[in-house]
Amino acid sequence: MKRRTFLGAAMSAPMLSTAAWSQEPLSMWARSDVANVIRPFVDTFNAKGKTQIKLDIVVAREMVQKYAAAAAARSAPDFLLLDLIYTPAFASADQLQDLSPWTKEMPYFESLSPAHRKLGELDGKLYGLPFSAEGSVLVYNKKLFREAGLDPEKPPKNWGEITDAAVKIRALGGDRYGYYVPGAGAAAFRFLPVVWANGGEVLSADGKKATIDSPQLREAIGFYRDLWAKKVMPESVVADTGPDALTGFAAGRVGMTITGAFAIGVLTTRYPDVEFGVTPIPGKNGGFASFAGGDNIVVSRGTRRLPAIREFVDFAYSLEGQSLLGKYGSLPVRGDIAAAALKENDPRYLTVAEAVNKGGRTPRSSVYNDLFNSLNGPWVTLHQRAIFGNDVDGAIAQAQATFQRIINEAN
């Protein structure tokens, strides 16, 4: 008797609950940085009339603590779009659902962004699937190039050309500057690719060893120190932690800066007067690299809504889903249909997509936040001290020591 009830309950429960679940919307979080993309994306998905999603936008830098608090209170969302750099930290803290069973049913799996997949892996399982991509590139003001006697269709292909162009633009005088990067923040997205493009590496492959002090990094710092010494960057770069990263460029006062695909949308819609080109971030003697950013789809461990979430994932990987990303200013993650998805887009998006596909990398570390993101962390400090300060050797030695200490403490 008892046993039959138990069996009966076990059999009917999923069916009953599926019915109930389809009424109740899926809860989903995304960070504020991608609100412009994810809002219309979810609206389109909801309009299909099947599974419904309730989307909450969380301020980007509070995503981790808010998720943690919600998890502690058992009110975590069913799934979320997580800045991909956090995927290792979430996965190793045992918060996420293994999604590897799904991948076997995805014929296109191998064409999904490698940087995203790499950060989603842990101990042979896959805790994150790519949602959207972003990458750092060099943007340059074609009008200022022309005025300075440079060819606007020939963007710089190496550091020497950048310096040369920056000096010429600064020579136009007034408040026009050749180059701009925030000095006191946002330095992973912007400065790591400069080091990478020069063949440098700041972490070992397993993320256990810091390799800051390398000739390649020293050269990259030397490159920026030279730009600073030549006064082609405005004074305000030193104190900018990121809020003003695009201000000067958008006002047409800055010749070149490093930014991402998001800026293409911002510039074309809000600052249509700025005539700009996009090119990959070059190395000292050519080559290029890009910081592959973006979001992973991760699923809270313990959610009972896996089939519904799968519906969303399939939609995201359809041509329609991938095109929506392009439409709202992000980049698709399926390499095999990226060009088709970006067909309608400004061609400059494709430049970013290719820079990411061919030269995109992301540091993998469970203490990424400490190392690279924190405005007071060793990477930002190194950037600020070594480029704008007087003691390059001291700054590098200190960064190397701090990196290693933080990594060691985490293990």
Partner: protein
């Protein structure tokens, strides 16, 4: 004062007081005692739920390796041992100490003269008092946001204004160098907060009986002497209060560094609370952050006690 009997006497009175309070003596009808308890109960419930319990939890968390994500693990006093070698925390404490000393001196350097200024009857004295005090009612967050804008090298006020006046020939960003950024924040806090000290000192000055002041000036006591031997001892209490308020706020300073320079430039403005916030919410080490909080809390209580002791008023003064 130093007589051996004194401590014993004091102890007895304290014990007596406690006993009396325990018995609930005081001449009110016995059954109304419960009404008294009932009246303070809501306050006790709130304070217990949202103050005492969290406080105990902080203590408890400080004994754990408590990551933001994942399971906490009991590690005894190891967080406190880590603290001893955490140079970052000591730097932050040192910065907070430096900031506290500089800003407190700056505030009183401004507040004392202005308090004397508004104490004397003069035309528009009400306007002066209001003007000096007005910035106090702003939130520190609002004031910091305001300052960020005014200090912005391109779109703010200070640098462009000085350029127009011809005092500088190229834009100067005060938030760029550690020293100038530090001074800039000190100026902001002095502007925002000295009103409190002005009013407290003013209250003290007004409480001085006019006869005393007159007697002093007849005696020929002048300027500094009069201040040192007559005025200051009489406003000791209000000075102590203003000092403790200023020191406590300064030791706990966070908002202004977070909003204005994000701890920079070059990490030169990481205060103790900032370091704790970073530990808890950037490095996600809640347990260690809790241990640091406990340390800061103990330090603060100690500081208040020391200040109260140094500025204690002797009976009859």
């Amino acid at each position: 004062m130093a007589s051996p009997a004194a401590p014993a006497t004091r102890k007895e009175t304290w014990k007596e007081k406690l006993r009396r309070s325990l018995r609930g003596e005081g001449g009110v009808v016995g059954q109304e005692r419960w009404l008294g308890v009932l009246l303070i109960l809501p306050a006790l419930v709130l304070l217990t739920a949202f103050f005492l319990v969290p406080l105990v939890m902080v203590g408890w968390m400080s004994l754990h390796n408590w990551p933001l994500l994942g399971r906490p693990r009991f590690i005894g006093l190891r967080n406190y041992a880590t603290m001893l070698t955490d140079t970052g925390f000591w730097h932050a404490l040192w910065f907070s100490a430096k900031y506290t000393i500089v800003v407190t001196i700056a505030i009183f350097a401004v507040a004392f003269p202005l308090a004397f200024f508004v104490e004397r009857p003069r035309p528009f004295v009400g306007f002066f008092r209001t003007a000096f005090f007005l910035p106090v009612v702003l939130g520190l967050g609002s004031a910091s946001l305001l300052w960020v804008w005014l200090s912005n090298v391109d779109f703010g006020l200070f640098s462009p204004a000085l350029m127009k006046l011809g005092l500088i020939d190229r834009p100067v960003s005060w938030l760029m160098q550690p020293t100038s950024a530090f001074i800039s924040i000190i100026v902001m806090v002095v502007w925002k907060a000295s009103g409190t000290s002005i009013v407290l000192l003013l209250t003290g000055l007004q409480a001085i009986p006019p006869e005393l002041k007159e007697a002093a000036s007849i005696d020929g006591a002048r300027g500094w002497q009069r201040f040192r031997y007559i005025t200051f001892p009489l406003i000791r209490r209000t000075f102590a209060l203003a000092l403790i308020l200023s020191v406590t706020h300064s030791v706990l300073a966070f908002d202004q560094f977070y909003i204005i320079t994000a701890g920079g430039p070059d990490n030169s403005m990481l205060s103790a609370v900032y370091w704790i916030m970073n530990t808890s919410f950037v490095s996600f080490k809640l347990g260690y952050g809790a241990a640091l909080s406990i340390a800061l809390l103990a330090l603060l209580v100690l500081l208040s006690i020391v200040q109260l002791y140094l500025l204690r008023t002797k009976e009859g003064q």
